[in-house]
């Protein structure tokens, strides 16, 4: 039932987009261009160094593609509602969500599917396939299954990051800067191999804010690396579990934030 409703919402969003075809296409092209420049910058920088702590340029590209691909998948579902939560609350739209016969969390996610991430998705998928070919990564049923599972798990970690950083909106009504720092800026660290940084940062991104599980650990399985710092090699398989656990935790916290919701005047 909820799935049918979700498909309905997605259909409505597609219909809305077709009303503004020009704007949509322009947006997709702009995003494609932005991330293409980003990929080229990384490429230029690491090919200048030849290797980065034992990581070849193509391997670092793979790292970034993993990050962007999982982000694009989770952002389709969670970006619009949770990056704009404080605005939804300020404008009073959130009130209207609370009187729908649905869980507000589910309503937000289902009614805010964002098709525009097709740009990130296609670009990062293309780069990933290119890396797989260049690095001669063996792809069979099993490794493909693992790859997809890791990407989905990484997507859940990203979604949990967005969720966690949206929760303060229930209290302080303004959380944009917080989200910018703790989600978007912090993730800049995982563009490069974690082994580049000092111990404290390695521990921080493994246990405190475990963004390293988005790409650094799972990538090593496919790249046949053994760069596990002070941690156990089994960390390369943990991504799906970390993802599920964090997402569940974020969801529970989000609901308790909702309980505190005060609404705004009139």
């Amino acid at each position: 039932m909820i799935i049918l409703l979700y498909l309905r919402f997605i259909k409505l969003r597609f219909q809305s987009i077709t009303e503004y075809r020009g704007a949509f296409i322009a947006g997709v092209i702009a995003q494609l261009f932005y991330y293409a420049v980003f990929f080229s910058l990384i490429w230029i920088m690491i090919s200048h160094f030849k290797t980065m702590n034992g990581w070849k340029p193509m391997e670092v590209m793979f790292l970034y593609a993993l990050n962007l691909l999982s982000y694009s998948i989770s952002a389709c579902f969670v970006f619009l509602p949770f990056a704009n939560l404080s605005q939804l609350i300020q404008s009073g739209e959130f009130d209207a969500i609370c009187i729908k016969p649905m869980n507000p969390f589910l309503f937000l996610v289902t009614s805010n599917f964002n098709v525009a991430y097709i740009a990130h998705f296609s670009l990062s998928l293309a780069v990933m396939i290119f890396c797989i070919i260049q690095l001669k990564i063996a792809i069979n049923c099993f490794t493909l299954f693992l790859l997809i599972t890791f990407i989905l798990g990484a997507g859940l970690i990203q979604a949990a990051g967005m969720l966690f950083t949206s929760i303060p909106a229930f209290w302080i009504i303004q959380n944009i800067s917080l989200q910018a720092v703790f989600f978007f800026e912090l993730k800049a660290f995982i563009q490069y191999p974690l082994s580049l940084y000092n111990r404290i940062i390695q521990i921080f991104f493994t246990f405190i804010i475990p963004y390293a599980f988005i790409n650094f650990y799972p990538a090593q399985y496919f790249l046949k690396k053994n760069d596990f710092l002070m941690f156990h090699p089994s960390f390369q398989f943990l991504t799906p579990f970390v993802g599920l656990f964090l997402f569940f935790l974020a969801y529970r916290f989000w609901l308790s934030g909702l309980k505190n919701y005060q609404s705004t005047g009139s």
Binding site: S16, E19, K100, N103
Partner: protein, 330 residues
């Protein structure tokens, strides 16, 4: 049958005390002081099935807060609320099926899509079966004249058309209760009348209980048979609209600007309640002297440059009642 029961309802908001100036801003950044504001202070009432209740009061009186508690958006700080046997904030989902809510300042429609699409979405969200959906859509199209714009993208609709569609959507799942928060705000006279007629019609046909907040006294007069008046979170009046009118509506106001500043004005029925230079605010009771007589008297005996007749506005009546209440307490 009592559909809505509110007893000893309280809602307290914590509001940050801000100090003036840069120094004050810095101080309140580090040391936060809050004061407690009682948005709703010990309100009790109950509403029977099929009643048309006007819930009125000045801005900031606590109307919206009450509506939000009744619809399950806010959790009260104290007291009990039952809507159709349910505690709304504990069972939001279940409560949603019993109520329809229209916020006059906010549209529920998809901006870029035809009205029809939002209807269809609500059909799915509220699990309305085909027969019921078809029956209701036909009824609303007929009663609200929606035929012309049912297939038009919402962004091309007028404010009145959007309001009609919003009210229709709120009623699509046949809720027992409809909350209307300023449903006629910003509309022209014709659109206002259509909407008022429709609300009464629905109430008559389906026994839908309606709670309406508004600042438009005509809304109240034409739709409601009972009013609940609140101010500063407290209940001031709850009863039949006729007795409210008899009690307070006699008072009318004339605003007169005399040519000479030192004009001395006396009349047994006309009382000067305020004087600002040449401008005199005169209060009289319509039961003792008609507005026509009052105006004629002033025009005959004095030289005036301006004369305005005002019916008392709801805000003024509310103030007066409130002041009267304070005096009694003292």
């Amino acid at each position: 049958m009592e559909l809505i029961i509110v007893s000893n309802l309280h809602k307290i908001f914590k509001v940050l005390i801000r100090k003036k100036g840069l120094k004050g801003s810095l101080a309140s950044f580090f040391f936060r002081k809050y004061k407690k504001v009682e948005a709703v202070n010990n309100i009790s009432f109950s509403v029977n099935r099929g009643e048309l209740v006007g819930y009125i009061g000045p801005n900031g009186a606590g109307k919206s807060t009450t509506i939000k508690i009744l619809s399950g958006i806010l959790v009260p700080s104290g007291g009990n609320v039952y809507v159709n046997g349910i505690i709304p904030y504990e069972q939001r989902k279940k409560n949603a099926f019993n109520i329809g809510v229209v916020f006059g300042q906010r549209s529920q429609l998809y901006w870029d899509l035809p009205v029809e699409e939002t209807f269809d979405l609500y059909k799915r969200m509220f699990k309305i079966d085909n027969a019921k959906y078809k029956k209701n859509v036909e009824l609303f199209i007929d009663l609200l004249d929606m035929n012309d714009f049912f297939g038009t993208p919402v962004r091309q609709l007028s404010l009145g058309q959007k309001m009609k569609a919003n009210i229709a959507i709120a009623l699509l799942h046949e809720p027992a209760i409809l909350y209307l928060d300023e449903p006629t705000i910003g509309l022209d006279v014709v659109a206002k009348n259509n909407i008022r007629k429709f609300i009464k019609e629905i109430n008559k046909e389906r026994q839908t209980t309606i709670i309406l907040t508004t600042h438009d006294m005509h809304d109240i007069e034409q739709i409601c048979n009972r009013i609940i008046l609140i101010d500063k979170g407290q209940l001031l009046y709850d009863g039949k609209i006729e007795s409210f009118k008899n009690k307070y509506e006699g008072n009318c106001i004339l605003s007169v600007v005399f040519k000479q500043e030192d004009t001395v004005f006396t009349h047994p029925q006309l009382k000067v309640i305020k004087k600002e230079g040449n401008k005199n605010i005169i209060l009289f009771d319509r039961k003792n002297i008609t507005p026509g007589e009052a105006i004629t008297f002033i025009a005959r005996n004095f030289e005036t440059t301006d004369l305005q007749y005002k019916e008392p506005e709801i805000e003024e009546i509310v103030r007066k009642i409130y002041e009267g209440k304070n005096e009694k307490q003292e």
